[in-house]
């Protein structure tokens, strides 16, 4: 650059200079946007980490609602035939469960509200502790969560019948641990299951996640498409 330059060369230099400036602006702005995008994404996930939208958890194997005969909290006999063609939202409870079950059943109550105008959807709660959870105990428990007798069935019955239904249609068994112990040893009782109108288990949502009610309602919409 020290040697004298012709005007053509000077023009070229000037052009090169402008191009360089424009390019560096682009690179700088791009870099700024990239960092900005990253940081805003980080704050989003950071804030929402506790309750990010729950995912549909796939069943461990294909599962289908098997035949059953149980008793609901009004003392009425309920069989699978009554639920044929319905979309089912199912949870698992025992009324002496003080921490997780109330959270899961508040979620069920929210789902009940969200499907108010969808007569093809039923909610079903299966007790894992039928010796304690008699018809009377379930009537009281259902009342506590505002369960609609026609919409939300709380079922009890013979333990073997209940456990065969749960073990075949829903939950896998957990590790053989005296804690987390339930007769039958089912894992993930805090999950909410979704069964389609053909009786097929579509999957589970985490019943402890506060966004699960909306996610279940969304998945039900998808089932109808």
């Amino acid at each position: 650059m020290s040697r004298p330059a012709s005007s053509k060369e000077r023009d070229d230099e000037r052009l090169f200079f402008y191009v360089a400036i424009v390019l560096s602006l682009f690179v700088g702005a791009g870099f700024f946007l990239f960092i900005y995008g990253l940081s805003s994404r980080e704050t989003e996930t950071g804030a929402a980490a506790e309750n990010f939208p729950p995912r549909l958890i796939q069943p461990d194997r294909p599962r289908q609602l098997v035949d059953f005969s149980l008793t609901d909290r009004t003392g009425r006999n309920v069989t699978r035939a009554e639920l044929d063609g319905k979309i089912l939202v199912v949870d698992f409870l025992y009324t002496s469960c003080s921490l997780t079950c109330p959270v899961v059943n508040r979620c069920m109550a929210q789902i009940q509200q969200l499907v108010t105008n969808q007569p093809d959807v039923k909610l079903v709660s299966l007790t894992v502790d039928p010796r304690d959870d008699t018809v009377e105990a379930l009537a009281k428990y259902g009342g506590r969560f505002g369960a609609d007798t026609n919409r939300w069935l709380l079922l009890t019955g013979d333990k073997t019948a209940l456990y065969d239904l749960i073990g075949n249609s829903f939950l896998a068994q957990g590790p053989d641990d005296p804690f987390n112990y339930m007769p039958g040893n089912f894992a993930h009782t805090e999950r909410i299951a979704l069964v389609d109108s053909r009786g097929k288990l579509r999957g589970f949502f985490d019943g402890l996640n506060e966004n699960t009610a909306a996610a279940v309602a969304g998945e039900i919409d998808k089932l109808r498409k």
């Binding site: 702005a29 804690f179 112990y181 007769p183």
Partner: protein
Amino acid sequence: MKRLNFVCAFLLIVAGFKIEAAPDADQTSVKSYDARGVVRQIAADRLKATIQHEAIPGFMSAMTMEFNVKDTNELNGISPSDEITFKLVVGGNESWIEGVRFVAHQVDDVTSNTFVFHYSSAELKDGDLLPDCAFMAEDGSTVHLSDFRGKAVAFTFFFTRCPLPDYCQRMSRNFSETRQLLMATTSAPANWQLLSISFDPGFDSPEMLSAYANAYRDGDTNRWLFAAASTNTLSGLAPRLDLMIMRDGDNIMSHNLRTVVLDPQGKIFRQLDGNQWTPQQLADAILQAARGQTNSAP
């Protein structure tokens, strides 16, 4: 603010660039997406297939829809309920599927489920002998259920950290009242014993147990022993007594309540579930068992 202006300006430049570039991209915009789903229906002419597909990343979310099939050979050997992978090709104004591969035939049918779960109960009934087991007593010694042969024994489960007044704490209050009732019954036989068993052996040391016990026993240790069951003991007892304990790490999350009366031979005389039974009911059961009467449960 300046920075925002700058960003806006930059975005305009970029947008301009994109608009310019767009027509160019359009001419080569036949795109292909990898997809997976279950065939629900195949048209008679095999030129259309309804597929319940999973989300197609970058294109569409999971749904069931009808797709065009350009080459009918693509569906050779494929029938409804088959799970397949395929490519969804999206051109300027048409779309079709190709590269169909069979993955599995989906089993929706209950009868063809090979896995059948059968729950087998280990629960004991009234009259069954409860196999002997050992606990760590509040003084640190080992105590066996069989040490109480000849006596009616009522036992229940609790843990000292249990915060709920209507669960473990009610069990302890009920035991306290039951003991008072029995002590006050002049005609009562002397062969009876109460036993409160903790299922939190890691936390409920002899010191914790006796501190807790003394709060309920009013300084009188007579006929009411506190103890803790080991994990091993619990794994034998829980299925026999229908006892449920859920723990998250070191914390007991929730549990059910089981109270059992054994007769002087160690057989189950009566079981009182939950928290609705009264001290009088328990006292009556203990008296009947201690006297060798037959079980006359309501």
